[in-house]
Structures are given as structure tokens and as C-alpha cells.
Symmetry: D2
Subunit: 366 residues, 4 copies
């Protein structure tokens, strides 16, 4: 099976940048369609290994629903080296985060619905999807052009908009596995094999998952305000699969199993697969707190990602060899209880560097 | 005259980063106070030379109003080299634009005003300013800390919030002189010696000028909605003084004269100085369009910043030596008439690179 | 005329990097063959425009000798952005200068010549060239592999080794036009339209020109030590064509004329073209001095590249807004008389930054 | 105990860069003096933690010999962030490796010795050391200035030249502990607690260790050629202490114990400490081979640093999701047997990236 190559940009010296696209046509037209991409942030490579495992599975067990797999989704980010590491989180020219440039695909709902009166839910879904796609295409053809990041993002968004389920595979810097899940799909947190979940509201911040579900959530909300109940037919998640700059095929096999379990629950694949049993915790996005270095220095991270911490627990040992003896070693402690989800990738930090991200106000999910 | 050094951050190896602050105490307590900073974007150095010229003037002709001058306002940005140039537009760790991290200083107006009933305008101004300052200080002392960029931005914002007039001196990449001016102060566009002006709305996008005037504009709007007329007592402008990576002391002398003319009109300095006579053009910010490269390649910029262009005028010659002869040289043309304000700094561009920024829908200001 | 695309590397996401190669087959087998490349340093783009002008000329006036033109010779360097500028001088992973990675193509001369006894000069040239090429190919096939920069450099060197004349088109940061010329070809300094020349010795420092001429110079020296006179049959030059990050097609036309004049003198093209008359100055490479910033600060460059300076002439105005008034503006002066050839590209410099490069001990060439 | 702060440079915005220096005056004038520095490469931070442990030990057990400890030796490198990691291996402006800029401190030996006839070995050592120091000072005061990297390197070299033993603490990217040891001190490989040793010749390549021992080795060789036996009185080592971007205080305690054992053997400290028993392997520097990626792709490193490998053993799993199924996963194997000492830090590699460094032709040391 050979990927199609989708053009997403051009480098200064003229090379066309392409992204591989793998498409499985499902056996059951009624089954949901799926879009999975990986590596939009250049250093977050593990999702590609997961896609390779999914490819192997789906070749052996063809899916019921259409499945589109897009690894290596951001060639500009993947190829952007600065020193030994991949500087792939933002456009090196503008600083814009590659995962904040998707289109806030807003249609004028009142007007649009007035033109689609009498449509069944199914018809509405099809027409609305076409309108979203048309809007993306129009933006890509602006006479003023679009930015490098927008061209990439909108091109991927076009593919994802065609699907009922979109998964965006990321990783943290040094991180445990966790999930971004829209509030209207809280039950999905039990359907993956991921211990920590952030529930996110209907607010567009530029990311892929939001770009996919916000337009449908808005439509559903608008229809509700008109007295019509309309179940949101599309869903999107961001999966954070461990740490960046790491490929591990054995772990990728487990990650793929978790995704397949979700696809099984949703009827995309025929085989009955179950998510792993594990304690699961979640919190609302607004309780996801960043702990910033109050001082600069060298740091030893004392809490492994995925650990629960109490308020006052030591998080970081801070070394300052330029200061007098009494200030050469300090402990920085957790301002609040929660789960330490990820920490910074480097051991040398400026004042203000984000040292840890902590889910506070945790609740157990069941 | 020696600057005070204001601590704004710490580098990983422990060095404290400081910013020089020069303060002139005005002779007339009724005169407006002024805050001027330069070089928040690391490569935009010319404002420092302008501040040096202002320093020399003000030492010779002491001002009526208090004047605070802050050159070299972003040591992290200024010191961030990548190759020969200064990579000073965004935080190299996070990609965040240094001029998009100021606090959106929002007070709960209804509640706050209920606590300040019966205040005269003058009393309201003083109390509101104190509340804005207190809010900034609270943020800086969060137990979760603030980011590197927020620490810098909020620290500068504290100084600027004390003033009645705030000027933020920037430059473009390759650029003509132009001004960002809030809509409620359109007449100010005639008071500087700057030919092009962008009129900006009451929307906070993270920049210094907005961070200063938005809270007061909101207060004024709110009071208007309550039936009380309240003139916005504070104003802030961003001045774009030519191109980055360039120091020119003779040009800085002219730029300083232009600023002094404005300060003269506003009663900050006693000497009667007049802005230069020149044709002036302006447009609303929403008409400030970016022209992105439809293809990658090597480019020759054909239109000098500050030139008026018609729709269809050639803007850029694009070379593609990797393509067949017929495609090796192309012309890219203006999608719309306007004034070419600035162009990109490099001659090698990706697909999507912002080649030119053009003010469209120009009107002459008089 | 469409270029062949020569593979020179692969990006992490899998894209093949290619370089366009244009070949003209000469009408006269006895005429020298020529290799011209441009843009090995990513920001030094003007040579591409010169090659485009050469292409147009040679299509109209086919050459006597074979001519190979290689624009955009370093796609990795050209595409390496960091902020708005091109960070194209060194490998972003290792820091190695792209123009210091060519192979020091050394054959064991005593042994090799013992195997080629009785060869005429012409036969020796052919055999030696084949041996040099074979050596390069062997290196490229090492079981341990070669570095990214070596793969690029050796691949280009293979093409250049086939030619009798190799020209490597570079630019300075902010620079006047100047020439690197091997000492044994001093007369060539009069054959280009370039006012300043550096004469370089038979020492390999990693650059393309040295990589081409050193093996032949060594052979000639070795044969001389054996009592056989052998004229060095190959020559290579580096041309520095003004400043980086600039495309100017009109200037490129002049630069191309200068190169064509040289090719005319050497019998590569049939048309009689003459280099421009101009005062020409030269010095030995060891007299090419770098003037480093004794202090950090903001700088205004006071001497335009291409100007002659006397000892003690002001070179740079240095601003230090963080210091007391008396130290806020200083002048830095030339330690020795000479010609200011180029200066640094940025106006903000660290202590030790190379501010100017100055040819000292100048002599007029005629 | 508070460090002295040694000025080593100035940032563009004016900040002085300083390095902390800790000095212990030994109790026994006959004991050797020691200089230890860490973190010349910005990301290689673990040596600072080791120095902190040494500081604690030496405060408790004052040494017999003078000891100078210099952590955080390269503030420019430590503070150079690009994305989340530290881009501290080379000067971001020039690409020059921070550990290749020390002075090749060559004196004209024949002339110099003729001026020091009749000196005893002890007198010769003192006079030669003074001459080396004077030479460094002269370079630092050149009217043309020195580069940023030279200023740092020469300033550190001045301190190190005063000592009899110099240790430069580095780390690899992902690496096991290993030692660079000059050939004339092969027995030292048993005196540290480090399993792998590279024996290096009397060739100056720009590094600190070479900069310290080469001048003395040359003197000894020269005197030997004159028939005088002169034991090399000075030694320098580079210790590679694991991986970059990591602080681990427990491991630092072990690393410090290893260094103290060496200092105990050499009589610098009074306490009898012994190096750990372990199998030790070594090879000559010329057998230290780099394995470069034959293709680009995503990589899983299969061999942990410190492992012995046979020829043909799999080193790396290479993923290529852009290629047809049969080429999506490949294994890259060791071209030769040896010990895998370190591997690259990132999982996404270009063609030519140095994947592993392998000591070949290993011998057991005892």
C-alpha cells in the first residue's frame, strides 16, 4: 500500500512539500468515517509509529468505515532542526504555533439555515459539511494568499472535515498520555486507553480538534436555541501520546490498540476490542495549570509525568551555582494538588519557563 | 544622567536581565505624563537612537510633564541571535510574539463603578489607574508564576500605565514610517511627522498600545452606556520608524523632532515645535492587507516602502531556477490599490511568506 | 531549457533535496570547461540571478567550452529560516560551515606518479582527474556514511572536478564585490570586473575553490620538486557579489558581464568581451583582518563597503543606552589602514562580534 | 562560600556575562593544583551538579592542592534557547563550536629555550607556564579584538593554564560515561570510575584538554629531541558524564566520587579514595567512528549507550511513512564491532545525521 502525496507547501529553493495520505474505503457506508493525523508539531513523532501500526492492522482487518491516515502531517515542522533537536512547534519565521492556524470555520448560521429549511438531520449534516468545505476552499484561493501555516492547516482541515471522527496525534515534551475531549463527549474518555482527560469547551483557539467540532457544536447550539434538537454528528480529539523526540514501536503497538478499541466502540471496525481498564482522571481545561519557574537556574524534575501530587510536594530541585552556598539548592513545590501531566524538556530554565503542567480539581472518571 | 536598571527577568545561567529607565520630573504637575519605550522586538533598534536624541533634548530643555524613557526594553529579544541577525520578534522557546503578551487589564466595571460612585472625572481617573496597577501587580505575584514574556510585558505595562501618553517605538522589516492610532484620537495622525496611519478599534490583541488605551476606552464606553460622558484621558500609539537592524543617528534626530512636535502640541514640552508638512494617508486596520507568496522562490522587491500602487502593479519579481525556462521569472502584482508600507526582509521565500503589507482603501488625512 | 535535478540529500520527513544543473556542451573540445555554482551559503542568493543572466546569454551565444551551471546549490541552507532571515551559513544541527566541508582530495603523489610514469602532461591531467573523482566517489560510499554537509559538498565537488575552471558565487553580509584568487593566477585579478582581490596560498581550509585547485597545485609542486615543470591546468575562484538577502536583476546583468569577460579571455566563449576598467586593489589573505567589537552595543556602520580607510578613521558609532551619559556614544576606529570590504549584517552586536573585514597592506593591481 | 564572578563577555543589550569561580587554597604547596570546569557546551549541564557535590566535599575536607572550580562556564551557550532545548554547542552567530576556540598556545621553542638555558625542570615549568599565560594575555589585547568565542575560551584557558591538572566536564547527547585521555597518561584511564576511554594524540584540534596539554607535550618532545628527558608536568582530561539536558544529583554524587578518587591518587586530596572496579575499555581516537544515516527518516535507537555491539547488529530502526509498504521499516546495522558510546538526541534525522558514535578496535584496559 503506497500513500498518495498531498502538496502542502513549497520551500524557498522550490521543493514541493508533500504529506503522505493513506485511504481505506470502508465496507459499510453507514459506519462512521475517520481521519487520523500525526506529527503536526515537528518533534512529536510517536504518532507516526502509531499510524504505522494502524496501517498494518487495517490492511489485515479492513474497516467498516472509511479511514484516512495522515502521518508526517507537517513536513516544514519535522524538517526544522536547530541544533540536534527538532524546532517543530511553531513556524520559524513568524513564531506561530502550527496547531493554532486552523480556520475558525464560521458560517452565518441564521442565514444559512434559512436557505436549508425543511432539511432532515442527515441532509443538514451533508449540506453543512459541504458548506464548511467550500468555505475552506475559498480561503485557500484568496487573491491575497494565505500564510504558510494556514495553507498547511486548511489543507489538512479539508481532509478532516470530510470525516465523522478526527484524531490528532500529539505528544508532550516529557509527558504521560492524556486526552483532550470536548465536553459534549465526556463518555469518550472511557473509550480510549488513556488515564488523564481534559474536557474542553466550545471555544475556538486555533487547534485542529476545535476546528473540527466547534462548527458542529455551534450548529447544534443554534438549532437548540431555535427549539430543534440536533445531536452533534462529528467529534474530534487530541491524543497526547507520551514524549516528543521518541519513536518506540512496542509502545506504538499499545497506543494503536487503544485507538482501535475506540474505533471498535464507535463501529468503525468490526472486531470487538476493549479499552484497557485503568483508573481515569479528568478535569476541565480551565483547571489545567502551568507552573512557571519563579527563578532561573538548572533543574532536576522530581515528579514523573502521570504522578499525583499534593499541595506543597516538591516538584523541582533548582540549582544556582552563581549564588552563595545557602541559595545553591532550592526546592520548588506544587501550589495546588493535582496530577503532574508533563514537564519541560530542558534542564536549564529562564525565569518564567513553564516547568510543569498540572491538572488540578481532578475527578475520577467512570 | 544615568539610567535606573529595572529587573525584568533572569537567564538560565543566572544573569539578571535589566532594562534602563530614564525619568524626567516635569515642571508643571498639570502637564500630561509620557512613557516612551523602544526595542520590544529585538531587531527593531532605531527607537533606541531616537530615545538617545530625546534624552539629549530633554536634558537641555526640561519638560513640563513627567517623561519616562525606556530604551532596550526587551533584553531577551535584543540578545537573541540566530546567525547574523537578531531573532527578536518572539520568544525563542514558545514562539510567542513579545508584543502580544501584555495584560488585557479588565476590571469588572459595573462592580467597580458601584464602589466609586460620586467620583469626579479626575478622581475616577486616579482610582481607575490605581486599580489597573494593582491588577498588574497581582498577576505578577501569582503562585503559579507568569511566563517569561508576561513578566517582561507586565513590568513594562506597570510603568506605562502611570502615564497619560504612551509611545511604543517599533520598526518594520523593510518599511516606511507609519503610525498605529486609536480611532478615538484620529486627529493625532496630524500631530506626528509620519505619512501613513492605521486607525485601530477598541479590540485587545495583546500589544502595548492596546493594553494601555483599551481599559480607558472601555471605561468611557461603559460610562457612556450609563449616560455619563467621560473623555478618554489616556492615549497610546505605536510608531513604526523605518527598518529593523539599522541605527542611523541623523534619521533618529528627525524621528525625535517628530515626537517632540507631538509632545509640544500636547503640552508636555514648552517649546513650540510643529510636525512636518507632508501628504498624510490613513486607513482602518481592517484594510491593512498582507500579500502572501503564491509560490516559493527568490524575490526582488520592486516597490519601495511608502509607495502608492495601483491594482495590477508589479510588486515582486519571482525567480525559480529549478523550473523550465518559461517559468524562471515571473511578476507578482498588487491585488488591490493602496500604499505599500513594508516588505519582507529576505530575498528567499516559502509559499505563503508575507511579501508585502499594503494599506488599502486609503484616505487622505487632513 | 530545463535543468536536470541532482539529488544531494534527504530531509527528515523524507523529501529528496535536489539541485538544478544546467549543462551546455561546447562547440570546441579544446576550449576549457567551466563549472559555476551559486548559493552554497543559503542567504547569498544574488549568484542565482547572475546564473539566470548567464543562462540567457549562453542560450543566445552557445559557448566553445562545456559549461555547467548550478544555481541554488544548497537547498538545506536556502530553506533554513530562523525569523525572517535565512540562517544558511552553517548546518543548523552541527554548526559546520557549508563551505568548509569539501574533501581535501589528497592522493599519495609519490606512489600515484610511480604508477603513471611516462605520461604526457595531457595524459597526466586526465588520469589525475579520474583519480580525484574516484576518490570522491569512494568517500561517498563509505560504510560509515558521510555527514549531511559532506554529501552535499562532495556531490558538488564531483561536478566541479570535471571542469578546468570553477567559479563559486558567494556574497558577503553587507559587502562590496571582491575576489578570492589563488596566488599562482594573480593575473586573473585583472580579468574580472571586480575591484578587490585576496590572493590565497596553497592551503586547504575546506572551501570549494581550495578543494578544486589544491590537488593540482600540489601535483605541480611535487613534480617541480622532481624536476618536471607542469603548469597547473585547473583554476578556481570565489566571487563575492555584494550583499546577502538581495536579488537585483540589473546588477546581476553587470555581474554576468564581468564573468563573461573572464570566460572570453580564457577562450570559453567566442565573443570578445572585456572586463571593466577600474582601479583594482589586492592583498594576501593573511592581511585580511577582522575587526571585532571591543564592547557590546548598538552600532551604526560609518564606512560603506568598498571604501578605503586610514588608520584611526571612525568605523563604527557604538551606542550604549544602559551606561551613563558620557559612555552612551562612542566611536570605534580602524586599527590600520586598508579597504573596508564588508561589515556585519546586524546593528546589535555582542562583545567580539566581527564588525568589519578590512584588507590591509593593499597594493594596486595592474 | 560565594563565587567570584569572572567577566567573559557582553550581550548586545549591554549585560556583562559572568562565570562563577570557586577557589580552594590547598594546605600543601607541593600538591598538584587542579582546575575543573563544566558546561562549556550549553546543554551539557550535569557537570555543574558534579561541581556542586565537589564543593560540598571540599568544604568539609579541605584539599592539599589548590582547586579551582568553574561551573556554568559558558553563559552564552547556556542561555541560548531555540525551542525548548538549549542550542549550546556552537556560537549561534558563527556556528563555531564553543569547545574548538581555545588558543593553540605555541611558543617558538628553540628560541624560547635558548633564553632559558640552565633552568632546572622546576624552573622551566614555572617559566614556561608564565610564557603561556603571557601569550594568552597578549592575544586577548589585540587591537583587532578577538571573537566572542575566543574571549570566553582564552579567559577560561588562562585559569586552566595555572593548574597542573585540568578537567573539562562535558556530556554526550544520549551517552554513556567516557573519558578523553592523552596517550602519555594511559594509566589515568584506571584512575577514574569511567568504563570507556579514548586515547588522544598530541594534535591540537581546538578543545580545552588539548589546549592545556599540547604545549607541554610539545615541550617534552622538543627537549627529548635535544636529548633531555622532561616529564610532562601537566595533564588534562575531558570527562563525558552521561547525557545532556539532564540534572541528577544522585548520579552527580557518584560522578564526584569518581573524580575525587582520581584526585586522591594524584595527591590533591588527603583522603584515600579508590576508583570503582569495573571492566574498562579503550581505543585510540582514530578508531572512534561516526555512523551516519544512509537515508532520512524517523528512528528508534535500538542499542543503549555503553553496549558492546558486533558487526551487523541492528543499531537503528528507520521508519519511512512516505514510502511503499516494503520500505516503511528498515534496520540499520553496525558496520564494525565495538562499543556504542552515544547516539543522536532526536528521533527525526536527515540523510547524513550522525546516528551513533562507536569505539572500534576496543581493547580492555587493566
Amino acid at each position: 500500500m503506497q500513500p498518495q502525496l498531498l502538496a502542502v507547501g513549497e520551500l524557498a529553493a522550490g521543493q514541493t512539500l508533500t504529506v503522505p495520505v493513506y485511504r481505506f474505503i470502508g465496507s459499510d457506508p453507514a459506519a462512521p468515517s475517520v481521519y487520523i493525523q500525526a506529527n503536526v508539531h515537528g518533534a512529536e513523532v510517536q504518532g507516526n509509529a502509531v499510524i504505522l501500526q494502524l496501517l498494518r492492522y487495517l490492511r489485515q482487518y479492513p474497516p467498516k468505515g472509511n479511514v484516512t491516515l495522515v502521518p508526517l502531517a507537517n513536513p516544514l515542522g519535522i524538517n526544522q532542526k536547530s541544533g540536534e533537536f527538532t524546532l517543530g512547534r511553531f513556524d520559524p519565521i513568524t513564531g506561530e504555533n502550527w496547531n493554532r492556524q486552523y480556520l475558525d470555520n464560521q458560517l452565518p448560521l441564521s442565514h444559512w439555515l434559512s436557505e436549508h429549511q425543511g432539511y432532515s438531520d442527515r441532509e443538514l449534516v451533508a449540506a453543512y459539511r459541504q458548506a464548511l468545505i467550500a468555505n475552506l476552499q475559498t480561503r485557500l484561493q484568496s487573491p491575497w494568499g494565505v500564510t504558510t501555516g494556514q495553507r498547511l492547516a486548511y489543507t489538512l482541515q479539508l481532509l478532516a472535515t470530510e470525516a465523522d471522527i478526527a484524531l490528532d496525534l500529539h505528544t508532550g515534551p516529557k509527558s504521560c498520555r492524556h486526552l483532550y475531549c470536548p465536553e459534549y463527549q465526556r463518555h469518550a474518555a472511557m473509550q480510549f486507553s488513556i488515564p488523564f482527560t481534559l474536557f474542553i469547551p466550545n471555544l475556538f483557539g486555533g487547534a485542529m480538534d476545535e476546528a473540527i467540532f466547534c462548527p458542529w457544536w455551534r450548529l447544534s447550539d443554534y438549532l437548540a436555541s431555535c427549539g430543534r434538537q440536533f445531536e452533534i454528528p462529528v467529534v474530534a480529539f487530541t491524543l497526547e501520546l507520551g514524549e516528543q523526540e521518541l519513536i518506540d514501536m512496542a509502545q506504538a503497538q499499545q497506543d494503536a490498540q487503544g485507538i482501535l478499541a475506540f474505533l471498535s466502540v464507535r463501529g468503525v471496525i468490526a472486531e470487538p476490542l476493549l479499552p484497557l481498564e485503568m483508573p481515569r482522571y479528568g478535569t476541565h481545561l480551565k483547571n489545567y495549570r502551568k507552573f512557571h519557574a519563579p527563578q532561573a537556574g538548572l533543574v532536576q524534575y522530581l515528579v514523573a509525568p502521570g504522578s499525583l501530587v499534593e499541595q506543597g510536594d516538591p516538584l523541582v530541585r533548582l540549582l544556582r551555582l552563581d549564588l552563595p552556598e545557602s541559595e545553591q539548592e532550592q526546592l520548588l513545590t506544587a501550589p495546588e494538588a493535582g496530577a503532574a501531566i508533563l514537564h519541560f524538556a530542558s534542564a536549564a530554565v529562564q525565569q518564567g519557563t513553564e516547568l510543569y503542567k498540572i491538572m488540578t480539581q481532578l475527578t475520577e472518571i467512570s
